[in-house]
Structures are given as C-alpha cells and as structure tokens.
Symmetry: C2
Subunit: 512 residues, 2 copies
Amino acid sequence: MTDIPRRRAGGREARHLLRAHSLVQREPFLTRALAPYEVLSDEGLSLLEYNADTILQEVGIEFRGDAEARETLRLGGADVDGERVRFPRGMCRSIIQGSAPRAFTQYSRNPERSVRIGDPNMVFAPSYGSPFVLDLDKGRRYGTIEDFRNFVKLAYASPYLHHSGGTICEPVDLPVNKRHLDMVYSHIRYSDKPFMGSVTHPDRARDTVEMARIVFGTEYLDGHAVVLSLVNANSPLVWDATMVGAARAYAEANQAVLVTPFMLAGAMSPVTTAAACAQTLAEAMAGMTFVQLVRPGAPVVFGSFASSLSMQSGAPTFGTPEPALLLYAVAQLARRLGVPFRSGGNLCASKVPDAQAAYESANTFQPTILAGINFVLHAAGWLEGGLTVGYEKFILDADQCGMAAVFTKGVDLSENAQAVEAILSNGPGQHFLGHPHTLANFETAFYRSEIADNNSYEQWLEGGSLDAAQRANPIWKRMLAEYEAPPIDPGVDEALLEFMARRKASFPDSNV
Amino acid sequence: MTDIPRRRAGGREARHLLRAHSLVQREPFLTRALAPYEVLSDEGLSLLEYNADTILQEVGIEFRGDAEARETLRLGGADVDGERVRFPRGMCRSIIQGSAPRAFTQYSRNPERSVRIGDPNMVFAPSYGSPFVLDLDKGRRYGTIEDFRNFVKLAYASPYLHHSGGTICEPVDLPVNKRHLDMVYSHIRYSDKPFMGSVTHPDRARDTVEMARIVFGTEYLDGHAVVLSLVNANSPLVWDATMVGAARAYAEANQAVLVTPFMLAGAMSPVTTAAACAQTLAEAMAGMTFVQLVRPGAPVVFGSFASSLSMQSGAPTFGTPEPALLLYAVAQLARRLGVPFRSGGNLCASKVPDAQAAYESANTFQPTILAGINFVLHAAGWLEGGLTVGYEKFILDADQCGMAAVFTKGVDLSENAQAVEAILSNGPGQHFLGHPHTLANFETAFYRSEIADNNSYEQWLEGGSLDAAQRANPIWKRMLAEYEAPPIDPGVDEALLEFMARRKASFPDSNV
C-alpha cells in the first residue's frame, strides 16, 4: 500500500519522485517549526475577550428549540430566559479551560493515518458542503455519490491531504434523509484517513456514531475520538436545534465537535473586523461550553469561518484583506483560550480555476499557514464561495498543501544546509550545478510541483499552450484510474452495509 | 490632477468609488502597522552573518575589470589580490553601519509622490527587465517604446503603485545604446512618480543623472536622491565592471543604489536556503561597502532576488516554499544590518495570467508583505520568470497591491470598529444589513476589487463567462484611454528633449 500516485516513469525519474515525495508523504499531519504570525497585541486580545464576554453576559445567545440544551446550560451556571441564554462574565472561559483538551488525536482505522489536532500541528481536509461539482470536461453540475466517492479517493491518494473530510460534495442523487449513510460509508470504505460525520439531524449524527462503532468497537469509541463533526452557529447569536442536537450526540459519544460561527461580516455581524472577532469568540465559546457541559473533556475545536460581503450585491467575497486579518486575530484568541483552532482553506468566489481563484485561495491559504491553524477544512477543491467543488481546483490546491508541508518546516540550519565549504571551494564565477554539494542535495532541495509549468515559452507552445487548470485535468483522472482501495476487514464491511440497508429500510425517503 | 482612474459611473457609484479609494489613493507609499514575520531566531541570524563574513574573508569577491573599484576597496581596508577582494571579518558591516542611512526619501518631481524607503514603509514598483510583453489581444511579442510608455502610464494611473519603476519592458525597437534616454524621459514625462535609472553602462548612468539634473537642478540633486537604480551581482561572488561603474556613477551623485545578488539556488549558489542566504548577505555587503566607500552616506538598498531551480530543466521556478523562506530570512538579516531592503514582488513562471501565475505570485507577494520589504520591484506585471510583462497581469497584480495597502494597516480597534453597542442592540437572529452601524461604515469597510467576480454563477454566465484575465483586459484599455499626463514645465521638457537629441547625435546607434 502506498499513497504516492503511481507514474509510469521509470528509472531516474521514478527515483526522483520517490525522494521528492519522501519529505512529506509519510507525515500523517504537519508539525510546524515556525511560530504563528500575530496581528494583535495582548492588550488588543484582552479587549476583544472583554467584548465577547460583554456580548455573552448582556445580550446572550439564543438556543432555539432545544429545552434540554438550555437546561444543561442553566445547570452549568448560565442565566436562561425563554430561549435566551446569558453567560456571566468569565463563565464560558472557565468551563472550557476546565475540561476541553488543548490538543487531541483523531484516530483513523489505519493507525498510521491518525491525526493530532492542536498546536503545533496542522491537518488538511478537502472542501465541504458544495451542492455542485465542476470539471473541465463536463462543466458545472449537481454532485452525485459517484463524485463524492471520487473526491474521497482523490483525498486518499493525495500525499498532501491528511483527512478525508465530510460532505465534500452533496450527493444530490440520494435522498436527503439517507445520503449521510452513503457518505460516511464512502469515507470508511474508500479511504483510511480520518473523516467527519453528519450534522444535518441528531439522528444522522447517531447513525454516524453507530457506523464508527461497527468499525472501531463500542468500548474503543468511548475513549477515542474517531469522528470530527462540524456544527455551525446560526449567526448572529443563535444556536439552532439541529446543530445543538448533533453536537450533543457527538459529545455524548466523546467524539470531536468543531464549533464554528459562520460570519459574513456586514450580514451576520457588524462590518468591522474587531466586531466580527468578538462575536465569533462569543458564539464559539457558547457552543464549546455546551459541549463541555454535555461531556467534560470531549474534544472540541474552535472554528471560525469569515468572509467579507459585497455591499453592492450581498455576495460573499474571498481573498480580501479583512477576513485575513480576522483569521490571524481569531487564531490568537483561540490559542489564548487553549483549544485547537480551525479556519481558512483555499477559499475563493471564482466560478472557475482561474487567476481570481488562485489569488483569492492563496490570500486565504497563506494566512491559514502562518496563523498556525490546526484543522484546515476546505484545503482543496473550493470554488464559487463553496457552492462548487472542482476536480481541477482540488489538484491545484493539493499542490499548495504540499508546499505548505515544506514551508512550515522553516529554514534548515544544519551544517549541510549552511554549505560554507561548498561556497569556499567553488569560488567566484563558477556555477554550482555540478558541485558535489549540489549533486548530494538537489533531489530533496526543492518542492517540486506536478502542475507548475517551468518550461520555456517555446516548449510550452509545443505542449499545447495549456494553462494550469488544463494541466490539472489529466492528473485527477490518472489518480482515479490508478486508485486502489485500502484493505478493510470483510466482516466490518458487511456489517456496515447491513446497518445501512436496515436503516434505509426503516423509514421512507425524504428530501428534507 | 488625480490618479483615480476616472469612470463614467455617476452619483452613488461614483461617490462609493471615491470613498473606497480614499483609504489608499492619497498614500504615496505604505506604512505598515504590523510587525514583520520572522522565521529565524537571533542565534540563526548570527550564524548566517558569521558565514557571510567567512565567505568575504576567506574566498572573497571578484571585482572584475575595474581597478579603480579595487583600489577604493583596498583603501577602505580590504585585501586585494589580482581581481579578488577579501574583506576582513566585520569590515563590511562596520563600514555600512557607519554611514549608510537606515531609511531615505526618494524625491519625485511632484513632492506628493516622494517615497520613504526603509522601515516601516513599503513602496510598490512595476515589473522590470522583460524583453517581451503580453496582452490578450496581440499575444506575446517583443516590447517597444510604445509598450514602455503604456506601462509608465498604467503605473501612474494606478492608485496602488507608488513608483514608476525602471526598465518595465525593453523597448527593442530602439538601439540598445540609446534606449535608456527614451526610457528615462518617459518616466519623467508621462508620470510624476519616482523612477529608476539606467545601469547598462556607466555612461548611461551618467546620462540618467544629467537628465535628473535638468529636472531637479544640480545643487538639489547633490542633497536629494531622485533616482534609484538596480545593480545586480554576477553571482556567485562576482561584481562586474558594468554594474560597479553604474553604482559608482550614482553614488558619486548621491543617488540611491539598489544592490541585489541574483540567486538561482542550485546554479548561482548551493541548493540549500541557508547557504543562499549567507552568500546573498556576503555579495550584498560587498556591493554596499563599495558604495559607502565611494560616497559615505549615499543611500543604498539591500536587495535579494532568489528563485529555486528546476533540477530537471534548469529553469527558474517561482512561488515555491524555499525562496519564500529565504525572503523572510534575508529580510531579517537586512533589518539587523540596518539598511532598507528590497525583495519579492508578484513573481511567477507561468506564461499566461492563469491559476499558476496567481498562486505563484501570491506565494511570493504574501511573504513580501509579511516580511516587511521596503522596496518591492516586480509588484505588477511579471510573467514567465521575468521574460514577459503582461498588461492583464499588471492589472491583476495592482489589485493585489491595493489589498496589501489595507492589510498592512492591521486590525482597527477603535470604539467604532469594536461595535459592541451594535451587537448588543441588534440581538440574536437579526441580520446587520440595515443596522445604522453597517450603513455608517459599509462604504469603507471592505477592500473592493475591480477584477474579482463575486456575482452568482448565472450572472457570470450571462456576462460571458469571463475569467479574471479577460476582465482585466478592458480595465487597462480604459486606463490608457482616460490617461492624462501630469503637467511638466515646458522649459524642462524642452531641455530634456534637447539633451536627448544631442546625446543621440553624438555617437552611432549600436545594439550592444
């Protein structure tokens, strides 16, 4: 078994590829050697924390349609008035810091793929939640379970993605109330990287947990997080029954919950960055507090999803400076709180994998890397504000993830890397191409992109004047053609299929 | 006079644009509110400094074909042996720190355009040195003086570029030995932003100084840097007579010199980043020492241009992690030395303004911004490893420069930006679109890109499914169509034209 995309190139080329990939391919997640970049002083951070506590105490959060959740919070010290829950200043921080782990391991069915979520680590997962898919051959269309499986396979085959993700695309050819079963099954069957569970109904969260129990065993599950699931606040200042119910189901099973306010500044929060930061902190702390009250010590990840809004059209915009500043600032707030943090990705508003897509993605992904994000959803594939996941975009983004693996290692200061003797022995005016130091190091010296075209203009013309997206097209096709499923215990597979069949038969199809 | 691109939109739209641009348009250069990102500890930096001194002392630098330069260095304390010049440990640092300014002003003929070069400021200048130009209509072709003038006009019209640059493209329709006159004239005549001078021959540097004297006056020039010129080391460890001669001509006139080792790691230096850093520091210190010995106090900028090399094809590669790490590290070395620093830009190897171009550019430009570069050459237009400057790429990159202007201001923590009252008064579940705080702030809240398409997929289809480069195409055409030259004293203009005519008549055309 290997996750190196196999190529037919032989000899020197093949050896080169093996060595070039060897730096990163064996890493189940990244471990940063570089400190995170910070945009706010301790004083600024204290101010935002104070504001978050003011919001929690004075206006509070609505926990809608779930009296049990409000009772949990009341017993934890909150002031409940109808659906409104107010948190005395300091309560949330104290509860979160009292029991939430600073870092945790999400276990995979292949132990070599388990990921450590928390500082100084980074985990890259594919795009999440798109109803549409796009490739250069068939254009934009609704996603299907076949597309879903394809993206699971691509994430599995990529040495630069660490996680199988969740709803990579919506399989709209399956009924809404049953498709979670096929999605969870696909993650388990076609990959052995860790995965995410369903959050669209508490029952579907429980189905996810049941399927995880089939794979890992009931007892194992209670002591090990094997599912990480994304719950979004209904900003501003609302947690709804679906998300709260899903969070409860996972927390009760000691499975990890990613608590993410979804903030289009100007719509879900004030337009200003400092306000969106404080509101994000308030909403996330309320959600994480709930999880800790349901099961102290259950793994939680502080999440932040933020975008600016076009004040002309109301559309979300990506890759602009304001959400980048917010990302850096909220990452600092999460570190001070002492919980793992999720944000960023390769986000863009572009409909196609063009220059807009790449500028915007990089303008989010660079802050993602430098802010020291621990879990990166949407690391590959995202287009059109998340409405579409693209096959070529996935390949282009995964290449960027590979570069991040090298960058985050920082500058090698070993004697070999300093190479003083090489410079002294080479002397003025002599190139280094044939120097023994070059020959000994060149195969691993530089990250090598599969997509970038560094040829001459004339060579590029002869090759058909392909742009980056066109060059990415055959790569995903080759990866799918050469894909081999990781082994799975046939008994487990049978039990999963049996569980799915039984569940599907137990209630009628529905598209709500 | 204004440098806001005029648009025909009236009323609300026009007011919006005015206000949206008002944040940055009046700034002749950026002043960073954010601290630079650092990838090396003090210990690591000391190690690289020690290695640079070892290189300078033990193998030294060749100053080829210029005995006068070697004599200058010998009198300054260097050990000269044939063309080889060795610098005792600490000599260069001591001389540079003894007289080179930590920051300086490059004055423009319009005083409002003068730029401050040094911390905490950033100045963006266009691409430099391309023989080819590219636009979507006419494709790739050799540059002409008309192209050159066009790019001067575009840099002048862009509110996000602070500097007119130098050889934006080579005007290959003019003889090599005379085209510098037309280039310098174009910068002066078609822009009033600061500009760069010729370095292809010491005589051409002196012509540049003469033309600057016509504009600014001989006495003024001796006390004010009005020209900034780029001299490149002939790495490894060589300074050649052309560059040294040009540097001397500018330093004697107290004009600013940008001293840049040009390092394709693996060819001009060892393949490893730490080695390329130390060698860059050694070569740059040798050059800056020479300038300070020619005229103590003459403004110098420490430059670094670095790229990885494809070890398969020998082609330079851009946007990869290794040169980004080098950029951060050498920026730290320059700060410790206490001189302004030039590096980065929107660099890429792509032949066209596609996703590769944008990823690679952003992967260089983000480090450029975060490392706190003071002078950014190649901030707009660069394609194909610098062989081509693109019209559409120029527009796309200038948009990124605009974003940098907002980003570098950091997070606004004013009471208005905190907006606690807005959050408290709005309450759970109510969007902020109509909130008074939103209405009072939305026009300046977010950077607004002219190029990004944030419309719905259906709107984008209706608009012709244009990609980012296609949307940039009409923008540069509109900017050129609406361009109005800044005023110039007719007597000065006449004197410049007369000087050029006299110089051109005084020796035959030549293409060397």
